[in-house]
Symmetry: C2
Subunit: 150 residues, 2 copies
């Protein structure tokens, strides 16, 4: 009976994803400095990787309201980690990018977070890591598709 199997997977997935989310967040937070929160670290990492981006992009990417992005970026600008620049081609748009200060802080935080994640990852065989991350990335794409279809 295939339905049985699927319900079991769903149940296991829901349980474990919440657990890993909470425990993972707690561990990462323990590796960060007092000044930087978990969400701020990830958001800065995302903007760094993208080079620059807009509020609209961030809101769509992370599935939150634009006003949530404004609130978060306000705090990051206040701390001097993030810069807001008006786009001269389209003056409605505000381009977000890391300041040098922000780059340095994220790089610093990367050091301790990477050490932590490495400690975790080292306990898995290489093939398992590769397969897991690949499925995880595929899941991220599927979630975006499902969200767009709604």
């Amino acid at each position: 009976m295939p339905g049985r199997n699927i319900d079991e997977w769903i149940d296991r997935y829901l349980s474990v994803s919440f657990l890993v989310m909470k425990r993972g967040a707690a561990l990462v937070k323990g590796s960060l400095c007092e000044e930087m929160t978990h969400d701020q670290y990830y958001l800065l990492r995302y903007i760094r990787r993208r080079g620059a981006c807009t509020s609209t992009e961030l809101a769509a990417m992370f599935g939150v309201n634009k006003s949530a992005v404004t609130a978060m970026t306000n705090r990051l600008v206040d701390k001097g980690w993030l810069r807001r620049d008006r786009d001269e081609n389209d003056r409605r748009v505000i381009v977000l990018s890391l300041t040098e200060h922000g780059e340095a802080w994220v790089k610093e935080m990367d050091r301790s977070v990477y050490r932590l994640v490495e400690e975790v990852i080292a306990r898995f065989p290489e093939e398992e890591i590769e397969a897991f991350i690949r499925t995880y990335e595929r899941l991220a794409r599927v979630l975006q598709e499902v969200e767009e279809a709604t």
Copy 2:
């Protein structure tokens, strides 16, 4: 050079885990009713599965402060979904369990959340699902070990 590989995995894992966390939460929230938040749904699910548990257990399990659990359970008790009972063998302890009302609501929410997750899961081959969830569960155990070792 193996260090190169590990750093790439760490980077990919950090990026994708945040993305899936945010997008997944947004999707699940869309499947829930207005009255129940994402975190409340998962917490009620956990307590239901355990039958009954304490604040201390929840705090340890999810890596949060006990006062955070008090605040969350307060809201759930106010909504009539959760019950607090004093343990007569150890009167410091308060046992948390779902009310009938709570059971019914979680079961109701399960229906729409399961439908959503099924839609996502259906896009993956069975072996991939099974392997992914197994590694995920192993990750949850490793995170607990790492946290305990700290």
